[in-house]
Amino acid sequence: MNPLELTLGIMTAVGGFVDISELVFAAKAGSAFGYALIWVFAFSTIGIIVFSEMSGRVAAVAKQPVFNLMRHRLGLKLGLVTLAASIISNLITCAAEIGGVALVLNYLTGWPYLLMAVAMTALLIASIWVLPFKWIERAYGLLGLFMITFVVALVAIHPPWDKIAGGFIPQVPHGLSTKELLTFGYFMVAIVSAVMFPYEVYFYSSGGIEEEWGPKDIMTNRMTAILGMGLGSLLAIAILSNSAQLFSGINVDPEIPGSAALEAAIPFGKWGLVLALLGMFFAIAGAAVETCMANAYSIAQFFGWMWGRHKKPWEAPRFTMTWIVLFLAALGIVLTGVDVMMLVEFAVLFSILVLPLTYLPLLLLSGDKDYMREYVNGPVAKGLGWLYFAIITAAALAALPLFFLTSGGNG
């Protein structure tokens, strides 16, 4: 295990953890329910760690990406259903990320939002074209570490640390009305969805193949998943805690991504604001890359095309055309003028509906001795995997009713 590579891998995972959905829901959760939803972030993070570790292990041992194996395991019909659901979910999410990063550029420069969306899409396409995989991942992931500004801001505002610590204990606040209870339930489901987005697992596993992981990299995979995502979730929890401290007492329910940047501006002024916006820019841009690439990986792997950014774009032409077309399709959604926050809501909603379809094949594959040999799921991975599968299935069933009952979490 190369310590430098491992450190870079962990830092990349930290910087790449937060995307537009986590940013928005963390800020809203804090203002609406104080510190009471911290435990849901922590709980969901364990879930994504479990499944990311599994997907990385499958890539390292079977030396095949998840979607190749998934088609073989599920067959053509169910595989196509999974693929279609995954494409739609990731496409909406990618559109939300492009819209989000265009908004951040608008806050930074004042230039028109739609123009920024076009410019940003062009920049993302160019960066994936020019840079090899490792550089793409590292650039966005490491620059996303500007998000640490939110952690520093939290320390600077002297929050009630005992209440933050208390937020890690599973709870439902007392004295909520029925509607508030349903809204709390909706936030729980939305946070699970935002943290455990399907694209994260597909990108992570395909990334393992891109980096030619083998059984010797099992420990690297484990540490990257645990430390990278664990520490990354602290960024989201910092945003939530800042919001609880700064917004909940003054009638602010952050509705737009720009509100989160105020969390760093209030203690630090303009520098805090700019650093927070830069962090948001790189984190959300990185997420846009991941969602688009995850979709392209899935399609190419499902149909057996050549794929990967470890190849030059012309060495895997159908894969290259696919990710470019997907970026343009996501941009097209943004250019319809649909509100970014609505895209975020739909991304979160659609993703939770497809999460069981995403994680069941992975659970079965990683537990299959024929593929995994001695690296098959141990009792901890098995137990946690099935526990979380049950939870995401329950969340998927509850998502639509809660969405309608609470007007998308607006009560």
């Binding site: 009638n251 329910d253 604001l273 607006n410 009560g411």
Partner: protein, 112 residues
């Protein structure tokens, strides 16, 4: 459980103040944020570009909320229009006065 089904039915086909509650909340929050932005801007903590963008987006939020109302002549609708008529750099106290009124209406609807 009966309460949940009732709320579901209500969500599906209601008009009037209860249906407008989500828009009142949206406008109240956007107004409160507007006040916060202006307060921080006057303390020199925000860039002019950011403030300009936030004003634009927050106004849009209030405008969208106002357009979604099923009772355009209700007291809360008038309050939203009053908020929209404020200049971008309105004093935070002025904005918060309107927010407080919207909050009052919101609380009374929620407890109804």
């Amino acid at each position: 459980m009966r309460r949940v089904w009732f709320l579901l039915a209500l969500a599906a086909c209601s008009k009037g103040p209860q249906a407008d509650l989500q828009y009142i909340k949206q406008a109240r929050s956007a107004g409160a944020e507007w006040a916060l932005v202006n307060e921080q801007a006057s303390a020199g903590k925000l860039t002019a570009t950011y403030v300009g963008s936030m004003h634009q987006w927050l106004r849009q939020q209030i405008q969208t909320a106002s357009s979604g109302l099923t009772e355009p002549d209700a007291r809360y609708a008038i309050e939203m229009q009053a908020l929209l008529s404020q200049p971008d750099d309105a004093a935070p106290e002025e904005l918060r006065a309107h927010v407080a009124k919207l909050k009052q209406i919101e609380d009374s609807l929620e407890s109804a």
